[in-house]
Symmetry: C3
Subunit: 646 residues, 3 copies
């Protein structure tokens, strides 16, 4: 457990650097991330490098005993590169190149950019790869931010054709896999295939999903190039990337597979405002964030990180980029920090050391205000630093986190439901999140895993809508011995985006013996009554076959069926019903659900239990002797944290 910070020496006079480094250290910060947007300072003109300032910055920070996370600067190619190679710019769905003047203005498929990236990464890695202060690396910055994964450039189309050829071998195989006979969309060669964009009505879903898979693969390919350069020139230093919450245009598992550390950038208030939550939920958690949003992401990235995951950027105050930007309540920066550690984080790094008074993010708070006074977030970071020492006095404080319940989270599912929703508001992350939130409300720690992950050792595995399942998924689920809960639409598509020949749930029918003979999506002002609650959005209409029907809709269609240890919800139930069904299934699985009060969340790591109070009322921790509290006490104040030992 340690704290870090993001710092931009190029934004400040050199005269400030030494004091900054000293104050970081005094605050309890141990590592500092630099340089991810500094290309125009590293290479002010083509091929003319200027390392002097960065050498000095690295030396100053190193001299203060700060460990440096060095970044490649590829998220912001400079103007001269764009002017020399306009094909670096990605092309939007409207057919226009996106322009220079902000960030991430590059096309993952551009050969010019690949070459330019290779050159600058090599230069940085060579220069600093062996510097003693450089302890870690970050590749690029927030892949996928601002919807920059999918490009419709000629270069992308060219590489897509190659990708298709590699995948299908012959164009006849592709025609068959996609079903292009429909609407005379048959191709005679791979060269006839364009990007699935600007069509009169929706483009072919198989074509679209393959384009998304291709675009995701391009990100992984690009990142792998950077990782390889870094490993070559800076061996032994862990390589990270900072993923961004729900920027799901590419498969994070694939990119993480090449990294040592999966990190993510946590902005609980910005996320609340920008995500799907209803206006009244946004008002309720206005200055705290939703109690499960950061946790969900901690569990996502913990699951894909070889070393303990990090929060690379932690919101320290109001941000600038949401539609509205409220101020966090006092205590929340501390709470968020501890929440990350409770979920297994190795580091929480605040973004940024000091608020910049210029440019796009001038309204983004830092640990210090632009006039260089410590802000509230800075004080709370200091408090956390001191508390870490008390917590780490306990031997297993840094133990890995492992839940008894797994929830399957899948990027391809997001793409497929986006392309092929069948109901306009079918938003995959919302459904996965609702299941997660119900489990957390019952007091459980949850592992979030890929559908391809090993599943042994779990008592319960929850599968939100997962249309395309791995061939061996049913077998692995069965072998796990866990109770399995499927949401609707599981197994509803083949790899090629067709309906399985035996109808959904396709290959899952070996463990879930039902036939989904029809489905229906429902508009937002419609619900269907079901015993104990109601259903929303969607219904799988099934022949229950060899399953037991445990709940029915008012019109008699099965709502919840069970076969051995496999449970199947044919719809998305209201929160209370979802929670009560999960509680019942968890008990069957030998687990002990403990429903928590509104706004209270609990996590366990090593021998310690962490209690977080997102509500406006004090919370009393029952049944724990006061002497067991390391941080806080039995009465957890609003926005408060308590930590006690087992």
């Amino acid at each position: 457990m340690r704290l870090g910070v993001c710092y931009y020496p190029e934004h400040w006079p050199e005269t400030m650097w030494e004091d900054d480094a000293r104050r970081m250290k005094a605050l309890g910060i141990e590592q500092v991330r630099i340089a991810e947007f500094a290309w125009s300072r590293m290479e002010p003109s083509p091929g003319e490098y200027d390392w002097g300032w960065l050498d000095r910055a690295v030396d100053v920070l190193g001299a203060a005993d700060l460990q440096i996370v060095m970044c490649t600067p590829t998220a912001t190619p400079p103007k001269w590169l764009i002017d020399r190679h306009p094909d670096v710019l990605p092309v939007g769905a409207d057919g226009r190149p996106r322009a220079f003047g902000s960030r991430r203005h590059y096309d993952f498929s551009s050969p010019s950019y690949f070459e330019a990236s290779l050159a600058i990464c090599t230069a940085v890695a060579k220069r600093y790869g062996q510097h003693p202060a450089v302890a870690f690396w970050q590749t690029d910055n927030e892949y996928g931010c601002h919807n920059t994964v999918v490009s419709y450039s000629p270069a992308a189309v060219q590489r897509f054709r190659q990708w298709l050829k590699a995948r299908y071998g012959t164009v006849d195989a592709l025609n068959r896999a996609w079903g292009t006979v429909f609407w005379s969309m048959e191709y005679r060669s791979f060269d006839e295939i364009d990007a699935p964009v600007a069509t009169v009505t929706e483009a072919h879903p198989s074509h679209r999903l393959d384009y998304r898979r291709f675009a995701s693969d391009e990100v992984a390919r690009y990142n792998r190039m950077q990782v390889e350069i870094i490993r070559a020139h800076s061996p032994g230093r862990p390589v990270a990337h900072n993923f961004m919450q729900l920027f799901t245009e590419f498969d994070h598992y694939d990119v993480a597979a090449d990294l040592d550390i999966a990190t993510w950038d946590s902005y609980p208030l910005g996320a609340l405002e920008e995500q799907w939550y209803a206006p009244e939920v946004k008002a309720k958690f206005l200055r705290t964030g939703h109690p499960d949003f950061a946790s969900f992401n901690h569990d996502v990235y913990r699951g894909m990180s070889k070393l303990p995951f990090w929060v690379m950027e932690q919101q320290p105050g109001p941000v600038n980029w949401a539609h509205w930007n409220p101020s966090p309540l006092p205590g929340m920066v501390r709470l968020w920090s501890w929440e990350a550690f409770a979920h297994g984080a190795g580091c929480v790094s605040y973004f940024r050391w000091r608020q910049a008074p210029f440019a796009q993010e001038q309204m983004h708070a830092g640990l210090n205000t632009p006039d260089n006074l410590l802000d509230v977030g800075g004080s709370e970071a200091h408090c956390v630093a001191e508390e870490i020492a008390r917590v780490e006095a306990h031997a297993d404080a840094n133990a890995p986190v492992r839940g008894k319940i797994a929830l399957v989270w899948d990027y391809e599912a997001k793409w497929l439901f986006e392309i092929h929703p069948q109901g306009a508001d079918f938003f995959y992350p919302r459904f996965a999140f609702e299941y997660y939130s119900a489990l957390r409300s019952l007091g459980f720690d949850v592992d979030i895993v890929s559908a391809h992950a090993p599943l042994d050792g779990y008592a319960m595995i929850v599968v939100p809508p997962l249309p395309i399942v791995p061939d061996d998924f049913a077998a692995r689920l069965k072998a796990s011995g866990a109770h399995v809960v499927f949401g609707p639409r599981c197994g509803s598509k083949t790899e090629s985006v067709q309906i399985p020949s035996n109808l959904p749930p396709g290959s899952l029918s070996s463990i879930l013996p039902v036939r989904v003979w029809r489905v229906e999506s429902m508009r937002p002002n419609v619900t269907e009554a079901v015993e104990g609650g109601y259903a929303r959005h969607w219904r799988d209409l099934i022949e229950p076959a060899q399953t037991t029907v445990l709940a029915r809709f008012a019109d008699d269609h099965p709502a919840y069926v069970q076969a051995d240890k496999v449970h199947y919800f044919t719809s998305l139930f209201d929160d209370a019903l979802t929670q009560s069904l999960f509680a019942r299934i968890a008990k069957e699985a030998g687990l002990a659900p403990t429903p928590l009060a509104d706004g209270i969340r609990v996590s366990r790591r090593g021998g310690l239990t962490y209690v977080f109070n997102y509500s406006n009322d004090p919370h009393i921790v029952d049944g724990i002797g006061g002497d067991r509290f390391i941080i806080g006490s039995r009465e957890v104040e609003p926005q408060g944290v308590a930590i006690y030992r087992a």
Copy 2:
């Protein structure tokens, strides 16, 4: 009365065809539509035709005694044609060509496409024109679908200039007719005139309406080319086109004038979701559709069909293309089928035989599920087939339908109000539909007719907002002897989109002697009280002149006036008031209104009366002896149908 189905032999292994044909026949299906999207299979490469598969399909279907509706495949030009002639693609209002990859990606004005269409249509017509199993033809598929009538291509502009020259003779005449002196928009030659698009603020309304008229004429011209080819090579076989509900970008009367059969594609649930209905109406009729929507369209196409109209595609279960896609209640496929026959249909043809497991419409139900089991819609179709036999035992079951009330429906009115609404939510079809719905709620059968149609024989003629009236309209209305009801905005524009020199109602003032000296549109949260109800959307403020004022607004402006047999509503009243005024006028016209219970509708054809129950409660048919029921009984269950003789 007979049943048909849409079938795609190219989507399935040849080994299935014979069984499919046998099962169709066993289900009671007598005709099968094929080939409308099969161009890439007919002509896999430029000029290389492959008829083998289609020959075999036609033979198999013919051998099973199914009558074939053969289609031209022009709705889906193949990729090779697009690559050879990129000018085939229509150009959107954004100036970009719309891309290959779905359907209807062609420009009606493209010379290349006209030529290519001529070639493929000739080839198909020659090949199958004399085949004994081919009984009917369909041109193309759903003209106007996906907003594909209006194109802004250079070819379209070129032909528009010729069209203008033919219409106006000289550019001076055009300048005068349009009034281009306004804002210095005068032209010196036809070659200076562009498409009315991408202007700084709204383009000139006369220019815009002429562009819409031109675009509509291009559809008729294109269809006529196909019809002429078919008639040349397949004489004696009726030619049809399948119109689509409220795809009003072209004048359906003009296209129908060249056909033998006007058919339409009926999707009651998709239509409910996608049309203007309020969310609570969409929830109320979620799984039945609106009781008047299909009927309205039946009556529209009956009015323009030389032979009895058809439903070429009948929704058989959930569809894939609406924002939300619920499942029809059991019984609705049967109810919809009978409703079509009650309104005069000659055939109801289900779309499609079997749900395809691939491509864009894989979530569109068929009579059979993708695993080839009969679906609910299939069972109900079978039920209808058996019932047809019982109904046709009555001599005049197939009699033509003719109402005593006519409602005028006009495509140009739709375009004009779209271009020149004066109130943002002035949606012509909604207003026509509300009048229709009020009349149907009073138990009347309604004919829907063109403003150019003969009007003799009607007792009552209802004219929803009709801005441009034919020169002889007033005379024909008067000569009909009917009571005439005008909605607001009638006669408000000249042919050239100017205000009539005597102010509205322009040439109608000979029978409606008022002066509309001002109008106002009203925002959705504003209504105006009127005796007996309230008004919405719009008010014509009038000098009543030689009319009698029968109702006034709270601010004393006339709301409803009458002169002899001519009635004039100056606004759009609430449903209840509209219904009560129509009832009063109908009585004056010697008709007998019989207000129906909520969700109940009644139609008459020959000596039979059809009762449809769209509600959730059983309905009792009063005063009809039980022995008169051919189908059903005096108690009509929810979603039920009853048919009794006079």
Copy 3:
């Protein structure tokens, strides 16, 4: 005080002109504006002028003793000019040229258009500059209408680079001022700088604000060219331009500085519908307009006009261009006319003489209907003409208007908050308007002034959110001796769009000694309780330093502080609280607030007091003897006007 009208002789047969002129005069109209859209009639083909018709029109109008406001016709370049010089067309943010076919289709930066404008303006000015009937000039028409100020054409970018060079001298200075080191946006030369458009995420705010300043300067430059031509060829005739309500894309102060008369086009009902008002407010004032909207604009343009300001176009009935277009209540055309005079207008000119039956504005009412009968607006204009005589019998009826309260109104603030809102609904005009409306509800006359205007003589100065303040602003405010009220966000940015180094309120801290250490924006469904009411949208979180905290939020942050005569609202309070705080401060400033009944407004000019009743109930003027009424009486009917002497 006099009346005018807008007239288009080119729209009507010459045979009507003489009668039109006679009837204008008889109605009480003294001036007539002509020719602003007549380019295609002045110059039907390149270089071929046709002055005959206009000579005759000018003669006919002059002969009727009407004073002519002659216009340059540059708002509507003819088609032949566009075809010859396509670069005249402005380019939208989507990169596409906006097309010919409506109006204002020109780019202020186009060299071709500058030259063509120079030629046509010179021709018109030479032809009519000395004509005895031509008394005034209008340049162009409604700069900024239809969002036509900002263009992204190559010509605009070229001129922008020159503008930047003139402003910053060196590109290094620009890099420093903007802070381009952020995200590697550094430039090596001015030629590398493009327009800030189409970027991946938001473009740099300094770049964006400079582009907006540049675009505004281009309008002033273009207008100045026209003014200089007119002054050269028609010396002594005042030059005007007709600004449009809240078309704030350019700085109206800058353009007005070159004019003699600032005029504006007043459409109270269209404005109500199109502006930010809530739906219930739009319904409440549906047929009267908001009681403060026209007044606000009168006060804006009075403040920037050298001669008494005019209403160049006054709404005479329903318009055509709002989403919904209701009819004004009887009396409102009269009320609006008197309201303008009460606020200091020299002329109220109605748009237009007669409703045109053709083209885009055929549904826009005139003083006469298209069939040439006097409309309600015409009758009311006649009534005003007669009343003017009675009012002008009082010596100081035409006295200049001067309030004791100034409100600062700023165009740059609008641009900056648009570019850099930090809260999605932070709409500057709304906040300025709410302060204005609160002051008017207290019975005050208000001057609206630039932040650069002299401030002496005011008792109270209200400063709505003003992010960038002139260097000498604090000093001038202090020197004025007035009580000053600052809204939030004042002084929050430097000229270069950076946070001031001492944090907000930056240079205002000399008179407002606080430190704004953090801000927050709040979503629409969130408010913050404050003593006496609640706050919305925004909070400046402050260290109150040497100020006195007079009100706090529920969470203890200061809401309202005072230091000497300087008052500071850290948020935007509800209307009632704003009004009560203003009343309290006004009393401190020695003023006498008199809260008015709902819908009642009062203005003073010379020795006369004007009372306007926007409500639906009669209003009794208390304490004024009936003999003092010149117009009306103590009982002011709904939509009525009363004028009494002191």
